[in-house]
């Protein structure tokens, strides 16, 4: 890992401190790679943990439309990677405002005319409501996120994310569209399962429970998109 990336990753780690940053500045890429010094090993592990989280979040976050110019999704990263994940989607969909976050924090990113614009905000629901007001959309989603944020983080509360996540269909402007894609995904996802090749490493074995909760995956958690009404 190059020094610039190492410092960036380390700075984003939740346990990063000035002493570790100062030590990291003195290290060459070779030392980071080949040292057995406990502190260097710790620095390497911390940087890799952040890189791993960025990779998981980029792959696992699900985006839902709010109107036709905003895509939003739920992430609760452990480390300070919100903008990096939001930027990834913003570059992918130029001109669309990307809003990621949870009950307490949100990261908005827009890639327009070759430049990235950023804004960090409070809870996801509040940010979406503010955007809806500006864009004249009706935002009905995110209230539960806000409630969750008031109760404290999901890690502390231990509450199952599936009960509290913002459902795309809660967003009035796109009602129906999100549901159709979710049904399509559930059917397709299940068509790809080959149980006899399981090999003992189930889905949960690869991705931590925290990452699953954080990304708010339904079909992948085995819950599908069934709701209470489906059984009544």
């Amino acid at each position: 890992m190059r020094t610039g990336e190492l410092l960036r990753r380390l700075a984003a780690h939740r346990d990063s401190n000035h002493r570790l940053m100062a030590r990291a500045r003195t290290l060459s890429p070779e030392e980071v790679e080949g040292s057995t010094d406990p502190e260097v090993l710790r620095i390497r592990r911390m940087a890799l943990a952040v890189r791993g989280e960025v990779c998981r979040m980029r792959g696992l976050v699900r985006l839902a439309p709010l109107g036709d110019r905003v895509l939003w999704g739920r992430i609760s990263p452990h480390h300070d990677v919100g903008f990096e994940v939001a930027d990834f989607s913003a570059r992918r969909f130029p001109g669309k405002l990307i809003v990621l976050g949870d009950g307490r924090r949100s990261w908005s990113s827009l890639y327009s005319e070759g430049a990235l614009l950023h804004q960090e905000g409070g809870g996801l629901a509040a940010t979406l409501a503010e955007i809806s007001g500006i864009m004249d959309l009706s935002a009905q989603g995110g209230e539960e996120e806000e409630e969750e944020g008031r109760q404290g983080s999901e890690e502390k509360g231990g509450k199952d994310q599936a009960e509290t996540k913002v459902e795309p269909q809660h967003i009035g402007a796109e009602e129906g569209a999100g549901t159709a894609a979710a049904d399509l995904w559930t059917v397709y996802y299940q068509s790809q399962d080959v149980p006899r090749k399981a090999g003992g490493r189930r889905y949960g074995g690869r991705i931590s429970r925290r990452a699953l909760r954080s990304a708010g995956l339904d079909a992948e958690k085995g819950g599908g998109s069934a709701k209470l009404q489906d059984f009544i």
């Binding site: 080949g34 057995t36 792959g59 669309k96 864009m135 397709y188 085995g222």
Partner: protein
Amino acid sequence: MTTLEKMARLAAGSSFDSVGPASGRALDLAKVEALGRGTKYDLCTSSAARREREEGLASALRGGLCHSFTGSGRCVSLFKTLYTNACPHDCGYCPNASTSAKKKTFAYSPEEIARITLDLYQENRIEGLFLSSGIGRDENETMEEMIEAVRLLRTAHHFRGYVHLKILPGSSKEHVRQAMELSDRVSVNLEGPSAARMAELCPSKEYENDILARQRYIRDLSRDLALPAGQTTQMVVGAAGETDREIFDRMLLEYDVLNLKRVYFSTFTPLAGTAFEDRKKAPAWREHRLYQIDWLRRVYKLEEGEIAAAFDDDGFLRNSDPKVAIARASFEEPIDPNGASFAELIRVPGIGPKTARRILLLRKNSRIERMGDLAKLGVAPRRAGPFLQVGGKSATTLDRWGA
């Protein structure tokens, strides 16, 4: 004006929208399920593609992304589907074959493929498209429609996500060229390691003409056309009595002569209604051991003669790490990591190229006197111990000298 307000107004004023609105139209989910299921034994793994940054909707990542894993632990990063499950071929293992107990046939239109891909892509559920197909009425007609689906994505929607397109057996050279122009990766399924095995698996396919000739088209055309993720292929393992050695020999030809990027293996699973439904299923570990051999050849660059030590007298791999069998045959005695070359280090079980490089870096500044030092670098001590001499000691065990 706050930054968020400015951003919202900029987004609202932007007219660029490659994805377009979600269709919102109800799809035939039975079709999605049937055509999706038709590809679940197709392998594609990475969605990575090395290519120049292009303007337009996204770009394939160099590292690839796994967007989810199925319950069986398989990565799902692409919308992997058949275009149609109608097929006149008689492959004994395939549920879509003309000889299989007939099921309902479905087909997408190019527009449907493009729309589903974009809808799932916008929600970040997939990284791209993997499009395979039965032959339909005619291989060239179906190939043309598959190409049209990708053309719609690439031109009408400026889609720069990953696309892996299957070349149907017997497709024309012109269709192969068009497919290559639009895709990151193309592949023709070999299915068997030789013409004789293919005759057993699928009598209606001509190995030389339908398969190998198309692979040569791709190899030759790729001299002038950029195909970022290269050509791949796939073999069914254990359906026609072929040995692992036969598969390995074919794999070498594919890499060395046809310049393939990857060869994939799929263990045979007898499916109800197919001609092979009563055949014995191949053990899943066989696929795993073949991938290990593939890795040793492709990444570790081991010679064919060295790898031969991993096969038994009948040409099959054992259900144990082939690297251990190769190391037992290669090393006369344990090696000292302080003096061993990179090539020697990577031949030790429990040491890979990355760890070997770390050992070389560590050696520049200090001697390795304890196994613990190696463990900190990522060496697996239990596996590597019998083949290493550290601090004058070696862990000679039955593992090292046993049969």
